[in-house]
Each structure stands twice: as C-alpha cells, then as structure tokens.
C-alpha cells in the first residue's frame, strides 16, 4: 500500500471508492462503455483501477488514459444502487496524478498537436497573446485556457469562429433595465469563456432579456474561466483554486450569479467539493455555490415569468423545437423541468421531447480533445435522437454541448439549427 499522502484527493472520496459493489448497474448508462465495451472504460472498472492504484498494483501513469476516458456525465451515479459518485473519484485521481507526475495538459497538446501545425499554432499564439496581453493583463492573474482548447477542437471539427468582438467589449459592466421598468433584482452574470469569446450575441440577448423583465445585470470584469477544464479535466487543483478565488471575489456583492452554461455553473458549485482546502475557502465556496442559478432556473423559479414574457424571435416562430439536456444541467444541477416548462408554455413554437434527452453528448471538454473519435461516436447517438424528433431547432443549456451538437449535425449533413435556449427569444 502506498502512503496515503500520495493520494490525498482520492482519500477524500474514499467513501465513494468503497461504496461500489461492482454490480455493473453503470454499464447500461455509461456513454463511454456503450461505445468501447471494455471493462476499463466503464465506471465500475475505473473504481477498480483506482483501488488497484491505492493497493500499489498499478501506477498512476498506467491508469492515466482510462481515467481521462470519462465524460464525468454522472449517469453511473444516477443508476447506482449504492449511490457511488464515480466522477468525484475520477476527478480526484486525476488531481493526484497531476500532483505526482506534473501537468500534462495543455502542454501535451502544444507539443504533440499544436506545434506540428504551424498555421494553427500561430493563430493560437495570437489569440493567447490577445487574451493575456490586452484584455486580461497578467497582473490581474486571470487565466484562460480557452485558446488552447478551441484550437485543439479544430481537429477536423466544425466549430464556430472566435467572435470578432468579445462580449466584454460590447456589454458594459452595469446594465440597468430601460426607463419605466422597475428593478426587481440585481444579478451578476457569469458569462463563461464560450459566451464571452464565441457566442457574444447570446450574452447580449440574455442581458437585454433580463433588463426587459426588470433585472439589472452586472457583468463583473474580474471574472475569469470557471476552471472546469483545469481542475476537473486536467486535475490541476492548485490553478483551479486561484481561478475559483478570483470568481468568488468578482461576484462578492451580488445576490444571484446567473449563468448560461451548465458546465460553468456546476463546476463553480463544485469548488467546495474539490477545491476547498481551508475553512475560509469552504465557507466562501459554499456561499458562492448557493447563489449560482442557471438562467432558466432563475427565470422560472425566481422571476416566475409568465409565458407571455417569452417572445419568440420572428424567424423561429412556428418551428418545431427539441431540447438536449446537458449532463451538468440535469444530473449535476437538477435543473430538468425549468427549460422544458418554458418551451412547453410558448404558443409560438411546437415542443417535442427527444428520446434519451439526458444522455451525454460526448463533448466533456478535454475529453473530446483527447478522444475525438470516441467523442464523435457518442455524439452520433445523440444526433440520431435529434433526427428522430423531426425538429428543425435543437436548443440546449450549455455552449459546450452546443459545439458538439453543431459538429454532430454538420457531420451528418443535417439541417437542424443548434442554439442556446435563450437565443430563441427576441
């Protein structure tokens, strides 16, 4: 048995590790196992590998790839009679591996993938230099991994362009409702990297939608990346902690933190689970988590908007719409009914539920970079579900899923428009 200090993070989730009885209930729902059909790829197998790691039967290096081969979708936990939270064990094991062996991401990408592609590399550097040099001065200590991430995604993938003007350039820090509309709430808007750099028009829509409905929106300039690719994807808890602290500080004075990205929201709620190493952080992260609301959750549960408030943009009226439920929204945040309630209540569109709406799309950030072929196979099942609905528009609640669904539908030459649920509205 290795000394426990080698596996500090795994030890924190020992209860989950011990809980698994290897019954195999995770097999039918694990998206990775459904494609690969190997024992090492399923949740139960990962638990057994981590146990073998603690028993010294296997090294962290030997199990690294199988650890990375997990979308953290939480479907295993949902189906586990023992309630084993396998993704926590996987994330913790990734973190311990990074602590023991150093960080491999994003450097591995740079060396193996980016460097041999000069044009892409130059483009990435330009982008990276923009972020760090101009908009995010180093002195602020804000960290962005998006540039690497998006470039890596470009591997033959259909991805939207980096926006010419980022959201933080087009939207002021404080956005008040128009004259004559009373202010009911003042909220902070956590824009997330994707909305900020790739889909700024979504952010603009959300701000004006909220303003119109009596919500003042603050877009704090000190906010950064949520940290999901860093601490959950790559297991770099130390950097993750710095990112978490920056976000907690940026939103200190605000009652609600609204997100349009389910991954950002759940990653930030998970600060306390993974990154809280002191009592102070535990307290701050827990308080921060309590104020985070997905946009649909805020509109339905807090603002309680009537159906008439959702005015569908003219080009989408009369269309058939289906909903892809992001893992981070449904299983992680428990936001399942709110977006459906909105979609069902709008008279201007026809809503159709897709088969297996909550099944993982296979994006999972870093996962889709490391295993693009596998990620595509998982997406193909989702694409088939979309096709089965006959809908012309697929809406979702996570820009990460959006990227994956855009890629999946384009690869199959399908006509569906993929967008965030809030883009439906005027």
């Amino acid at each position: 048995m290795k000394s426990n200090t080698d596996f500090q993070q795994i030890e924190r989730f020992k209860e989950d590790l011990d809980r698994c009885t290897k019954c195999g209930f995770c097999m039918a729902s694990c998206p990775v196992y459904r494609e690969e059909r190997t024992e090492g790829s399923v949740a139960r197998g990962k638990i057994m590998l981590v146990r073998a790691l603690l028993d010294g039967e296997i090294t962290a290096d030997e199990m690294a790839e199988q650890l990375d081969r997990c979308t953290l979708c939480l479907a295993c936990t949902e189906n586990c009679p023992a309630g084993t939270r396998v993704p926590s064990v996987v994330a913790a094991a990734r973190a311990d591996k990074v602590r023991l062996k150093g960080l491999s991401f994003p450097y591995r990408l740079v060396y193996r993938w980016l460097l041999p592609r000069r044009r892409m590399f130059g483009y990435t550097l330009r982008l990276a230099s923009w972020f760090q040099g101009i908009f995010l001065p180093r002195t602020e200590g804000t960290i962005r991994h998006l540039s690497f991430f998006l470039s890596a995604l470009g591997k033959g993938r259909h991805i939207p362009q980096i926006a010419p003007r980022f959201l933080r350039q087009t939207v002021p820090e404080v956005n008040k409702p128009p004259a004559g509309v009373a202010v009911k709430y003042t909220v902070g808007y956590f824009t997330g990297c994707m909305t900020d750099f790739v889909f700024p028009e979504l952010g603009e829509k959300i701000v004006s939608f909220l303003n119109r409905n009596g919500v003042a929106v603050v877009v704090p300039r000190g906010q950064g990346c949520c940290g999901a690719p860093v601490f959950l994807g790559a297991g770099d808890f130390a950097t993750g902690r710095r990112m978490a602290d920056a976000n907690v500080k940026a939103f200190k004075e605000l009652d609600y933190i609204i997100t349009d990205c389910a991954t950002c929201a759940s990653a930030m709620k998970d600060y306390v689970r993974f990154l809280a190493d002191t009592d102070e952080r535990k307290r701050d992260y827990a308080a921060y988590a309590g104020r985070i609301k997905d946009i649909t959750e805020f509109l339905v549960d807090v603002l309680k908007l009537p159906p008439s408030a959702y005015r569908v943009a003219p080009e989408y009226r009369g269309k058939t719409v289906t909903w892809h439920e992001p893992c981070h929204l449904g299983r992680y945040l428990g936001v399942r009914e709110q977006p459906r309630q909105i979609l069902k209540s709008i008279p201007d569109i026809k809503y159709v539920e897709m088969p297996d709406a909550a099944r993982c799309c296979g994006m999972a950030g870093t996962f889709s970079i490391n295993f693009y072929e596998l990620s595509k196979k998982i997406a193909d099942k989702k694409v088939a579900s979309i096709a089965a609905t006959g809908a012309g528009i697929v809406v979702t609640g996570c820009p990460g899923c959006e990227l994956q669904l855009i890629d999946g539908t384009r690869r199959h030459n399908m006509p569906q428009k993929v967008m965030h649920i809030m883009e439906l509205f005027e």
């Binding site: 729902s29 059909r37 024992e39």
Partner: protein, 474 residues
C-alpha cells in the same frame, strides 16, 4: 504467463483494437461482482464475429491456453474470473440484435447484447423477455444463457432455459455448431441447446442465441405489505397462490435494509415490522385490478399495513429500494457472504428460522432477501475477512445454512450458478454419478479442458479453499 507469440497471433485474428494486454486492462478483467475472487488474465480478446471466436479457440486448443469466456462480468459466482490466467474471451463486442420477429415471437441476438437494451428494443414492439436477473443493466445475453439466469419474474414466467429455442456454439476446438431452431416445439434428437444453457462457459462459447418471446403484459400493479414476522409473510404468499393468483413477482426484504424504504413507507411501520413483501401482478388491466384486490384481501388477513402503488412511478420507487438491497447490505460490513439457495415454498419459514438459529449459534449477523415466491433466497452473512476468527464463524454458519436448505429438499444455487463460489458444496449437493456424467460430457466437448478451467465441478488443489484474494498474475 502465456507466450507473447500467442498475443501476436490473437492480434492478427481479431485486430489490434480488439486485443488488450496492458496491465491496467488486464486488471479490469480480473474480477466479477463477487468480492472474494480476483485473478488477472494474460490477455483479453474481444472478437467481433463468430469466425474470430472460432480461430481464437483453435489457437487456444493448439497451445493449450486456458480460455475464460465472459460478457458483462456481472455474475456473482466467480464464474467469469480467469482463475488460471490465459485468455479472457469477452463477447461484449458481439452486440447485434439480429432479428425481432413479432409474428413468430422469437428473437435472434448475439451474446454481447445487454439485457436491458434487448428489453428496450422488445418493448418498442410490445414484446418482452421475462428473465430479469438484477444485473440486467450490465449483464449480456450470452451470460444470461450460460448462467441460465433467473430473477424476480421467474415465479410466473420461469427461468432462461424456458426461453432458449436455439443456440450457435463454438466448441473448444473451434468447431461452430448450430443447435435447436426457431420453433417453440422441436423434438429432434437430444436437447443439446439445454446442455449449454447453464454451462457457465465450461462447454463452449455461445455465439448466437434464438429466444422465445412473450407479448408484454398491458398492465401491472405493485402491492407493498409489511409483516411482524417471517412465518406470517411466508404463509401470506402461500395463501395468495392458493387463491389462484400467480403474481409475476413476490420479493422479500428483511429489516436490515428497511432504510432504503424510509420516506416511502411510514416510519412506524418500518420501526415495528420484520419483513416487507413486494408483490407485482401483471396482465390485462381487468385481470390486474381483480388480482390486486385478491392480493390485498389476502394480505389484510395477516397484516394491517398494505399499500397499493398508485402508478408506475410510485411502484418503481419500491422496486428501486428492493434492488438497492445488495449494495446496502454490502455497505454494512467489510465482507459479505451472499448465498443463493432455493427451497420449496412451503419450507421457507422453516428455512429462515433454522438459518437464524445457525447465525445466533455462530454469533454472526445475517440478513435475508429474495424471490420468496419461488423459494429462491439470498441469505447474506455479514463478516470481515480480515478478522480470521469471525470469518471462520461466518463460513461455518454458511455451511450450516446450505445443509439446512439441502435437508429441506432445496438446492445449492437457485440462479447464481456454481462458478468458484459454491464449488466446495458441490459434492454435498449432487449425486456422485451426476458429477461423473458431467465430467464425461466435459471430456467429449472440451477434451483438453481449456474452457473456463477450475469452475463448477473441477476441483484443483492449487485453488485455495475460501480464498479472499488471489493476486493478479500480471
């Protein structure tokens, strides 16, 4: 360790992507759903067609390499653990549903189809395959047949062998044999397909399965009843059946796992009762309503606490709580010894009473859950294999429980199979002449004994008795 040359040849047969030989991959094939047995193979091969299965077995025969066939590996007998190393032949990539024939009520599947996926596909056409081992979310059809799986629904619908019409099997020397056929009636020669049904991978590798199907029942209801003592619960079940109602499931849980029912049943009921029965009736809506009333009336004679689930959502909550029994009981002790005896229904109360006496005598905790409708019980003894003395007492208690079941006219294993787990009891449970016949059959079909060696009747002094763990060879 096997020759690396064998691994190279396997790669040529099945393709690189279907052969696993890295340490971490081998470790992932070293276990099943028991916590007693562990041994890594030397190589794992996942064939994608029957020709590959045949070539793999021919190669193994020529080189006398052990082959352990497996699917999902969710069995609880040690049966899919490659105790002698060698090759694990995993059928999970042979996962096509080839045909679902609604008119003839049959289906043709490959062995790697997951049972739950199969039933989802059948449900779309209003059909079902009744055997429902509680590993349905991970177990594969090859394993369902090779283990002759049961489950709660077997009270009314019978076990897997009642649904096997035909098989394609690859023998140890690579010969591909077709057995049985498409029709429910078939009296052509010996029932060889039955020989492989329940053979636990020791006689051949099942590569294709023809199954009989049933039209799915149009309706079902779940009735929950709590009882003060085991005997009354047992009598109630007998009365229900005597009243001409054959429920599709009658499941029993004792108060060890009542926690899973908190929030579903009133606290005072859970605090005062000893046993919960979960009863499901199914069929046409009219039948279901009538049967529900009869079951309710029968239960009312013996217990004040009965509840009929209002809808399938509520019913599913109770069944989830039942399914959580194994994980719940597992969390209560470091080691559990889970048995699988089956006794005639009228002996259930006596069996439980005698087993509880054994547990008291050996001073070990015991819990019962099971398919009480058909007498198939899973007594679980809670122990800790790190505490040698306690573990020995637990094993002695288990020995007595099995003796008790056999003396009441029961059998050693109702549905889990023998594998490694129950090997040591086999001589007590089987006529010596029957074991002899099994050995002769094995010699005919697998003369070199390469298929799933060390399992069922095969005794081997190299396999330690009651091991907790055998180190992986890798």
């Amino acid at each position: 360790m096997i020759d690396s040359n064998i691994i190279d040849r396997l790669r040529r047969i099945a393709g690189n992507e279907n052969v696993l030989a890295a340490r971490e991959d081998l470790l992932a094939y070293s276990y099943d759903a028991t916590n007693t047995w562990k041994h890594a193979p030397d190589v794992v091969v996942l064939p994608v067609n029957v020709a590959q299965v045949s070539e793999i077995l021919r190669l193994a025969s020529e080189n006398r390499v052990p082959v352990t066939p497996r699917g999902g590996g969710t069995n609880v007998s040690g049966g899919s653990v490659p105790i002698k190393g060698g090759i694990v032949l995993c059928t999970t990539r042979l996962d096509r549903i080839i045909e679902i024939n609604r008119a003839n009520l049959h289906a043709v599947v490959e062995p790697g189809v997951v049972l739950q996926d199969f039933n989802t596909a059948l449900a779309r056409q209003g059909l079902f395959f009744p055997p429902d081992p509680q590993s349905f979310a991970g177990c594969t059809m090859g394993g369902v047949v090779a283990e002759n799986s049961g489950g709660p629904s077997c009270l009314k619908y019978g076990v897997t062998r009642q649904y096997v019409l035909g098989l394609e099997v690859v023998l140890a020397d690579g010969t591909v044999v077709k057995l049985g056929g498409l029709t429910p009636k078939n009296r052509t020669g010996y029932e060889l397909a039955m020989l492989f049904t329940g053979s636990e991978g020791t006689l051949g590798v099942i590569s294709r399965i023809i199954l009989r199907l049933l039209p799915a029942p149009k309706a079902s209801r779940t009735i929950v009843a709590a009882f003060d003592d085991v005997a009354t619960a047992g009598e109630t079940v007998s009365s229900i059946i005597a009243g001409s109602v054959l429920p599709s499931k009658v499941e029993f849980v004792d108060n060890w796992t009542f926690e899973k029912f908190r929030g579903l049943l009133p606290d005072e009921t859970l605090d005062s009762s000893q046993v919960i029965l979960l009863i499901q009736v199914d069929g046409l809506p009219e039948t279901v309503e009538a049967e529900t009333q009869l079951v309710e009336a029968t239960c009312q004679q013996n217990t004040p606490w009965i509840k009929v689930a209002v809808d399938s959502t509520e019913a599913e909550r109770y069944w989830q709580a039942r399914r959580a029994h194994f994980s719940d009981i597992s969390s209560r002790a470091h080691t559990i010894v889970n048995e699988d005896v089956s006794v005639p229904r009228d002996k259930i109360a006596e069996f439980i009473r005698l087993s509880q006496e054994s547990a008291r005598r050996h001073d070990v905790p015991i819990s019962f859950a099971g398919h009480v409708g058909d007498g198939n019980f899973h007594p679980v003894v809670l122990t800790d294999n790190r505490d040698r003395e306690h573990y020995q007492r637990a094993l002695m208690c288990v020995d007595e429980i099995i003796e008790t079941a056999l003396s009441l006219g029961g059998v050693l294993s109702g549905e889990h199979g023998i594998g490694l787990e129950k090997q040591r009891f086999l001589k007590k449970a089987l006529d010596p002449a029957a074991i002899n016949i099994m050995k002769k059959i094995k010699d005919v079909l697998d003369p070199l004994h390469i298929l799933n060696p060390g399992k069922i009747w095969e005794e081997d002094s190299k396999i330690p008795l009651n091991p907790f763990r055998v180190n992986p060879s890798g």
